[in-house]
Symmetry: C2
């Protein structure tokens, strides 16, 4: 159907090899012949077949990207960073969302393998370790982003979630809070554990108690989950004066829940998010959060992967490379010193 180099060869009266060489810019072909061929290709609307080329060269110029969810703005930003970096190098993206579904994860991995993606970026924190190993076993260069099962992966980009969480916790402690709760997302694997552990270590450093009921995990990261979760905090005998949320989406729900309960933020309760998605700047009050450099993370991941694909880097198993990026605390309006009467000294 589509025109091939053979069609061009027939029309210009040369062999298909000459056409192939001319179009690839091989200087062994005389300038005039090459020019003639290029013109013919142009006129005939020739588009090389990626399938045929990659069959021959064993390179597809396509990178696979696995994210947890397409609807999550956090991953959208990372994708954006990846695409920015990748497109200039002539690579395209094969994107798939696992949606926390093991069956779909298997399918995605299989597709990536069949497509012979040149490499894969896994930025689904909860992605099954087994599937990841499968990709490695088949020799795929892999860069993991915020991935929990990092053991088998030599190359990864991390955001320092422990540090970020500590920054937020310290900020709350410095404001005078003593009863600080953590709202996690059990679907996010290691990420929520890191954030929890940052919170814990900073609380311990300040010799502040962490009652069991101050730690809650919901199954997902959508706003409405935060909204219902906050009610449980409010029902406690000594409710927290500050809530550290796993991410901005949950925090937005928490703000909503508090507002419905008639509690003013930050006067009565402080709330923090995590990630700094676009909308965290537009909540009322604007959300104090940790600005995670999402686009940079995407870009770094892509750069690292492209580096691995350079032909001279023949021994990818040579070294391990882990890059850790730190986020910065972004103080907006949802945090303040606790009310004095809220102070609870028994």
């Amino acid at each position: 159907m589509a025109t091939t180099i053979k069609d061009i060869a027939k029309r210009t009266g040369v062999s298909h090899s000459t056409v192939s060489r001319a179009l690839r810019g091989n200087t062994i072909i005389s300038l005039e012949t090459a020019e003639r061929i290029r013109r013919a290709a142009q006129e005939m609307g020739y588009q090389p077949s990626a399938a045929a080329r990659s069959l021959k060269t064993n390179r597809t110029q396509v990178l696979g990207v696995i994210v947890s969810s397409l609807a999550d703005p956090f991953f959208s930003e990372i994708l954006y960073g990846i695409e920015q970096c990748v497109q200039d190098c002539g690579y395209s993206l094969f994107i798939a969302a696992s949606e926390h579904d093991p069956a779909r994860e298997r399918k995605i991995v299989q597709t990536m393998m069949e497509q012979r993606t040149d490499g894969v970026i896994i930025c689904s924190s909860s992605f099954s370790a087994e599937q990841g190993r499968q990709l490695i076993a088949h020799g795929f260069p892999i860069v993991a982003v915020n991935y929990q099962a990092a053991e088998g992966f030599h190359y990864s980009i991390y955001h320092d979630d422990v540090d970020g969480s500590r920054q937020l916790t310290r900020h709350l402690i410095n404001l005078g809070h003593r009863r600080i709760a953590y709202l996690g997302n059990s679907h996010s694997g290691r990420t929520t554990l890191d954030r929890l552990s940052g919170y814990r270590s900073e609380m311990n450093a300040a010799r502040l108690p962490i009652p069991d009921e101050y730690i809650q995990h919901v199954h997902g990261g959508e706003p409405h989950l935060g909204q219902t979760a906050v009610e449980r905090f409010l029902r406690l005998e000594h409710p927290p004066t500050a809530i550290l949320c796993f991410n901005d989406m949950l925090a937005i729900g928490v703000l909503q829940g508090l507002s419905l309960a008639g509690i003013s933020v930050p006067a009565q309760i402080s709330v923090t998010g995590f990630d700094n998605i676009t909308f965290s700047a537009y909540t009322r009050p604007a959300l104090t959060t940790l600005d995670q450099p999402k686009r940079s993370i995407g870009r770094e991941a892509a750069e690292l992967l492209l580096d691995l694909l350079k032909p001279d880097n023949g021994s990818p198993s040579e070294g391990q490379q882990v890059k850790i990026l730190k986020g910065t605390l972004l103080v907006r309006e949802s945090t303040a010193a606790p009310e004095t009467q809220g102070d609870c000294k028994k």
Copy 2:
């Protein structure tokens, strides 16, 4: 590198043709042989090469999707709908974002053509008509979603933006508003014009005047653009009592701008969005908007395209198919009757 059917053939002592047939489930191969081959394939970790297969079959099982922006939650939802529908049929997605950049659009179209995508869904409203025609000229089945240059496209899914805009405008008029402004997004091509025309026709029907300065267009759809645009409305001698925004993102910025200006919504000014993205439910006040069935739109587009790809539908030029979906008005808290003293009868 990777194991091929030839490797399996060698190991099982049959020809590669037999292996090919066995793995494709051709019943002409004896059951025991087929089983033996399948086991060997399993053990050797065989993954068929999509490139080789599509070279032979002229089918890639991949659909291209072109969106305006990956960072826009509106498109994320559409993508979600598409992926939901497509994955069960064994298709994968090749996703690219044009980011309103003509150079990138050219590159994307070229890539889609080289990859021999089985079909393309264009859901970038401002996508260059020239590039679209290029795809058609090369025989790609195309489904357009909310696409402006629909002339050349036989198959498309539309959201009825005119109707949606009329619903919102009528809602405001019914509340008693007479000075209603429209804030558009010049980057969104026909979409903003449709919404503008819905607004216009409803205003005309109610015999309400539309001063020129009540229509503003900003160059994009991000919140901060709405925030600055609203200041211009406020500086007018007779500022509007209601602002109809092109989409939720702009409306969120408008809310922010009004809040900074000390104007209360909806008491002093009503604001409406469009699209009903997740976060429009979490603004203060919650945004009145038009619930566009984004996931359904994505699903319908995918279904239509998959229909076109069915082998029996040999004559895709036979008929034109346009599906128009209507959204529903979602009244939240950002709209109310105008203040009586704001009524301006000269």
